[in-house]
Symmetry: C2
Subunit: 658 residues, 2 copies
């Protein structure tokens, strides 16, 4: 039975939840496919996540391997293929709790970087799981700065082999997933040396474990890097190479080859390859970043209408905590953010598909823009979504802090997204470099890519809003965001030029502007996200209340951004203090409006109870009952040796009853 | 041997590290006592925290119990007493990794709330550990709002007993520390009923486990609530009471008593008791909140001078990451925050000691102010320190994300401080209520407590700064903070009045202002923190460079607050855009200045390597070596059954070498 406090929230929905779900899925047909996949996975006990919060790192790893192996069988049974429509829903259905994700990266890197001959040899072996692949790039001493990697691969013309070495401890490979315990092979990135000359970083296929008994191969030291803040199910590993010899054929040679005599030959254009790397940043967003925020919103909002605490009015029943303005102000902007980023993700996917087409036609013009967008949005989306999950966790108080709420694991996992696939600050500075370059170009009348043409149109006007309702006009707020983005880019460009003209060296000057450059890059992405949300809303169907509620969320997303960052808008008087009061008033009004539809808005994300795996967030709102049931299963409720060992001697047993 | 990149940082210190340590400790003699305690604890293998990051929740609990029991023996051996000078350093020396903390709360509640007779009976038993106490207040359905607690205690005149019950699942006690597995007794807070009439919440001593065999007493259901985001070493528990009868004497009766015939008698003033509750919020700050931030700063800053990544200038060696402005801007404000809050903590302790004296003289005038300060600062300090630890963790990239860095456990533990001892938003609203009340009083010419007299002096002036150096003047920035605090309080008071005058009911009006009330409360505390830091610096000895470096940190703390919250200062034109540019310039300049002393500034916190328990933060800076050594000890490097079970069948064993 559904908790009446939750049930009542669903009776007054201003829109059709089912239609909104279909919109999010990209059509009702997709919803159907997704639900079928989820049903098949969740009804199979091998994929169960029950008791997950009680498991050790070793148990989590074993379960992930078991699931990965079973998944092959399941796919075969169900007739799902890697190119079929079901495939993209698998990871979400498994909540990412599965091993061998790096096996796919291993395969992709061979497909992208290998010669036809290499692809013909390795891809079938990989597909049939006759080996387990990994991808060994990051080292103890180097992450983002790839040129600094220290592993060496020296070509030996006598034996036609590469000799791989870890010259010092900081050169040890560190972090590669599936490498700590599972992988038999890996792609190692190493500095290539021929006849004593260094040719930079290249990829090499290296076998690390025996296919007979899984023992480490000669010259290989490898293992698991130990406990992390999350990702207990993944065996992130280390790898130390000592005079490991591999045949010449094992250097992936689509773009570069070492000929038998040691001649180094570069062939083809790597540009498409860089592009593929760029798209990886975007491809992880939906499953690894947006889904966790949507889950966290679902859990926190459902809990907030079931939890009653204190009284809003004396003499009345205790109030649902979502009726407090402060609770609304915590959660509803996160909900708006989840929708905003869902739509920007659609936009980016579409843009990158278009980009891919262009690049295949050998038109590389879009590359810098795509690189800047993927870097900036990876940083901004991971940052906001991580902060959002944290807010959801805190908004659930003590119960949020229990692992049984599901929120701590969502949080500690999404947290990593700010670090992996490029550390966020570094990425924002890459976006900023693009912005500065385009701003300079635009200022001197040169053409610039579409997403930054707005930089050319520096306006010194003022915000035209006259009352609080004007701030519900997308034109008004989108222009305000645009104004801020232009101002931050132009003022930082000016500072940079001033410094250089005053004699500061170019690189020092850049460093001295980086704090402000990061701000400019964020403002650019924020502007595009707001603009895209507004444009998306405009195109939505007006039926079933969808457009109306999405318009509210778009307004909230935009006004929350202004309210949380008033200085940027007030600074040069573009927005006046009186207008800022209007923003605040409209923003707070919106909270009360969206609050009414809060539960239907998270219901539309369509998570099953099993996928939420949360004692606080299930469909029926039976929070306290579930917390109690789950807690009783905890291994901490088994008898502890601590009593016999320590407590019994301490307590003396002198008194039977006080 | 010390990593030369770390060693070089210590050679150019502008101040005496040892003198700064003594300042932080409150004198060189205190430093000596603290070090002796740390040495005694750390040299005893029973207290070792080695391998802690590899332990399960059960293992952590057992270790904590073992340590708690051993601590009694140790104290006896060392001649340390609970009133001795060593006692206050014990918890820090153990890094809080010890059981039976709630036993002390149990004792304190009896001392505070019990009659002389009750104290005479229970305190000696507790002191001799003939029982283990806990404190059962929070329920599944109620935390902050104590009046809502649902556990009942019905007085039975026939038997002269109270009958305790958990009437529904939401009334189950939930969270009490030491109760899940250890406690034999607990203080239960329940609604007292006599002859059918409810007299509100009262405390009762209840035995929950046998002193013979530790089995649960009749009518008691109790256990552990399971895994949490941290606090694995504590057995937070649940408790369900079914017709549990306790003698009339077990109601703690210093302030209220039920006489044999059921007459309810209230006696004495509870005010001193409320005051004691208030001080608990302040008393946890040093060990649970400031120490973790100081540790996180130590780890992140030492790591940031050892880690080299990418190049600042082409052709040069890779740069220490602390040389990047963005890394400085992440870490150095956290360092300044740690110092700022260390000094505000001193201020609060002193104020509360003074308050205690007044209250013992039956002068309760200071109570509202102390309550407002303890609530506001608990919220602001826990919030900023938690955010600071998170920033430190992220600033260490992937290695920060490894448990071996020590940062994830610092973070997930301090995180709880935002929730326990009063949820932060609720606390800030209590401070805000005090501010509004005082503002109204001050506006009508009535006297107000010292910390809020500034509210009476609403100034409509402008910031007088003329160049960036002016913003290094404490008068300039302290006044700016004051201006903002007054403005936010007065404008919210005005909104509140407007709403009420326009017919909105008082409670609705309050709710509609809460987002802004929270801002006002934060601004008030931030102002006091800045002012106190500036006043503290003024009084410091000028010798040994101490005052100079503290002045820099004070400036940084103040300017960071303005830089991060420009809107509040720009809003009404108190600070102009040109002045904000000066703030930015001075702020960024300061980063480069303080960066030079960053390592000595964390060295002064004087943490041992054992207490940091971090592969990244040790004194010698041998980061990579230690990560590798520690990882090898992880249980994830033992043989896993996953190979035989899942991998071997998968890999087919068809190929021996590819």
């Amino acid at each position: 039975s559904v908790n009446p406090d939750l049930a009542s929230e669903r009776q007054t929905s201003s829109f059709s939840v089912e239609r909104l779900t279909a919109l999010l899925d990209g059509g009702a047909e997709q919803t159907q496919i997704r639900r079928a996949v989820v049903e098949a996975i969740e009804s199979d006990p091998v994929f169960s996540r029950e008791n997950q919060y009680f498991q050790t790192q070793n148990e989590r790893y074993e379960a992930a391997v078991r699931k990965a192996v079973h998944l092959q069988k399941k796919m075969h049974e169900m007739g799902w293929t890697e190119n079929g429509p079901e495939y993209k829903y698998l990871y979400r259905a498994l909540s990412g709790d599965v091993a061998f994700l790096l096996h796919r990266v291993f395969m992709r890197s061979i497909s992208m970087l290998g010669s036809d001959k290499q692809i013909a040899k390795w891809i079938p072996l990989s597909t049939q799981h006759k080996l387990i692949g990994s991808y060994a790039q990051t080292e103890l001493g180097h992450g983002t700065y790839l040129q600094g990697l220290e592993t060496t691969a020296v070509f030996d013309t006598a034996t036609q082999e590469f000799i791989l070495n870890t010259p010092k401890i900081s050169a040890m490979k560190w972090w590669p997933g599936d490498m700590g315990r599972s992988a038999t092979h890996t792609v190692v990135f190493a500095q290539l040396y021929i006849h004593g000359k260094c040719y930079g970083i290249h990829p090499f296929i290296v076998q690390i474990r025996s296919l007979q008994d899984h023992s480490l191969c000669p010259g290989i030291t490898a293992g698991d890097i130990g406990p992390k803040m999350n990702f207990e199910h993944i065996d992130n590993g280390y790898l130390l190479l000592k005079n490991v010899r591999i045949p010449r054929d094992n250097m992936l040679s689509k773009f570069c080859e070492v000929q038998p005599d040691g001649t180094y030959v570069r062939q083809g254009s790597q540009k498409i390859n860089y592009f593929t790397m760029t798209t990886v940043r975007i491809s992880v967003l939906a499953d690894e970043v947006l889904t966790p925020l949507m889950k966290a919103c679902t859990i926190a909002i459902r809990y907030s209408v079931v939890r009653r605490q204190s009284k809003l009015k004396p003499g009345e029943q205790e109030a649902k905590i979502l009726d407090y303005q402060t609770q609304q102000e915590k959660l509803l902007p996160q909900l708006a953010t989840a929708y905003a980023f869902h739509f920007i993700n659609d936009y980016l996917q579409e843009l990158f598909n278009r980009g891919y087409g262009e690049i295949q036609r050998k038109n590389f013009d879009m590359l810098p823009e795509l690189h800047a967008l993927s870097s900036g949005f990876k940083a901004v989306i991971t940052q906001h979504c991580t902060a959002g999950v944290e807010i959801c966790l805190r908004a659930c108080g003590g119960h949020g802090y229990s692992l049984l709420s599901g929120l701590p694991s969502l949080y500690t996992k999404i947290f990593a997204s700010c670090i992996y696939e490029g550390e966020n600050t570094i990425l924002l500075l890459q976006t900023a470099r693009f912005l500065i370059k385009c701003f300079m170009a635009a200022s001197s009348g040169q053409p610039v890519p579409p997403s930054v043409t707005y930089l050319a149109a520096v306006k010194h006007g003022k915000c035209p809003a006259k009352n609080k309702l004007d701030f519900l006009s997308p034109d008004i707020y989108t222009e305000a965001y645009q104004h801020v983005a232009v101002r931050l880019t132009s003022s930082t460009a000016a500072k940079l030029q001033d410094l250089i003209q005053s004699g500061v060296k170019k690189h020092d000057a850049w460093n001295q502007c980086t704090v402000q450059l990061v701000q400019a890059a964020k403002a650019h992405c924020h502007y595009i996200a707001v603009k895209n949300f507004a444009e998306t809303v405009e195109k939505l169907e007006t039926k079933a209340g969808i457009q109306k509620i999405m318009k509210h969320l778009c307004d909230l997303f935009a006004l929350h951004g202004i309210f949380s960052n008033t200085g940027a808008f007030l600074y040069d008087g573009y927005t006046s203090a009186a207008q800022m009061d209007m923003v605040t008033a409209s923003y707070l009004d919106l909270l009360a409006v969206i609050r009414k539809d809060a539960v239907p808005l998270v219901d539309a994300f369509d998570f099953t109870d099993k996928s939420l795996n949360s004692a606080l967030g299930s469909h029926d709102g039976q929070v306290y009952q579930r917390l109690y049931e789950w807690a009783q299963k905890s291994p901490t409720n088994q008898m502890s040796p601590a009593y016999e060992r320590y407590l019994k001697p301490l307590l003396h047993n002198t008194l039977s009853k006080l």
